[in-house]
Amino acid sequence: MIPLVHQEVVKRHAWMQDEEFADVLAIANTLPGPIATKMPGYIGFRVSGTLGCINAVLAVILPMIIAMILMLGLFSRYRDVSWIHGMGQGVVPVVMVMMGQLTWDFLNKSRLALGWAVSLIMAGMAGGLIYWLDIHPGLVIGALLAAAMLPRLTPGKAVKEATR
């Protein structure tokens, strides 16, 4: 989606220069959550203030939210019909495969940044805390984020402290 936004914002409407667009993207990447709402929000704000911001964000998200509510609402209403029930069940293995792809994607990026050993140890520790000790994932990640903010610690040391 980002290349399409770039096409509109930089090339077609010339609201921004190439360089500024790249900076905004870099800044959006320093924050958690979806990029595809922060970019339009910021660009909309730059171009015409608060209303522009709201307008740009709604234009990105609203049509497909309505589509989701209509389609899944209809689907839920006829869930008792056997072939519709079957359709719902047919989707689960596909979603499983897609989630497997994402798992690999995240693990691979993690490996490139931290190496296999650290990635797998961190993943294993997090899994133990979240699934075995039933600690809320927000607390685990919150502790890691706090540890990442600490100055002058080698990654290995800080990780141990955050997940202890």
């Binding site: 870099a26 800044i27 990447n29 320093t30 958690p32 959550g33 979806p34 990029i35 595809a36 709402t37 922060k38 929000g41 704000f45 964000v57 990105v60 998200i61 497909m64 939210i65 309505i66 989701m68 509510i69 899944l72 689907f75 056997s82 072939w83 079957g86 359709m87 719902g88 069940q89 047919g90 989707v91 689960v92 293995p93 596909v94 979603v95 499983m96 989630m99 497997g100 792809q101 994402l102 994607d105 995240f106 693990l107 940044a113 650290v118 990635s119 993943a123 997090a126 899994g127 979240i130 809320h136 927000g138 685990v140 990640i141 890691l144 984020l145 990442a148 100055p151 990654p155 990780v159």
Partner: protein, 176 residues
């Protein structure tokens, strides 16, 4: 009360989910299916399936639909608000600060350290979807559909929407 719960269920994943939209999926599942029990694993898989088939960011589509299911239009508004507004406000308010620190090792560490945790939770979702499907349609159908989906997505690089549509057809014809 339900509005506060909805706000938290979407605010927390979006404030800790480094790594773009997909990173928040397992975090939302932990809230919506695990903590608050608003949906079954099966329903969550359906939301994710349709969400992957439609364009625009997955995070807001899930927030909009789940919020609506739980508490109507007010619920959808709260859930989408919690997804979009907090981080957008941080971005607009602290642009200069963020720009200065965009290449800082600490900022990089934040997203790097969160990634293995998210990967673990995604793997947890894979396992939970596997057992959900095993329960519903048995091993043979589960493996058959998964194998076809993997071939279509990885080998032929078909669009997710086509693969989801094919699985709906398979389910409607053979699993009904």
């Amino acid at each position: 009360m339900i509005y506060l719960e909805l706000f938290l269920a979407f605010f927390i994943p979006n404030i800790i989910g480094y790594g773009g939209g997909p990173a928040i999926i397992p975090l939302i599942e932990a809230e919506v299916v695990g903590r608050f029990g608003w949906m079954s694993s099966q329903e969550f898989a359906e939301v994710l399936g349709l969400g992957n088939a439609l364009p625009s960011p997955i995070a807001t589509k899930m927030a909009g639909y789940i919020g609506y299911e739980v508490a109507g239009i007010g619920g959808a508004t709260i859930a989408v608000f919690a997804t979009v507004v907090p981080t957008l406000l941080i971005m607009l308010g602290a642009l200069g600060l963020l720009y200065r620190y965009r290449d800082s090792p600490r900022v990089k560490r934040m997203s790097q350290w969160v990634r293995p945790v998210i990967a673990m939770m995604m793997a947890g979702l894979v396992v939970s979807f596997f057992f959900e499907s095993l329960d519903g349609v048995g091993l043979l159908h589960t493996l058959l559909i998964a194998a076809m989906a993997a071939i279509a997505l990885l080998l032929f690089r078909l669009h997710p929407a086509l693969v989801i549509a094919a699985s709906l057809a398979y389910g409607g014809l053979l699993l009904g």
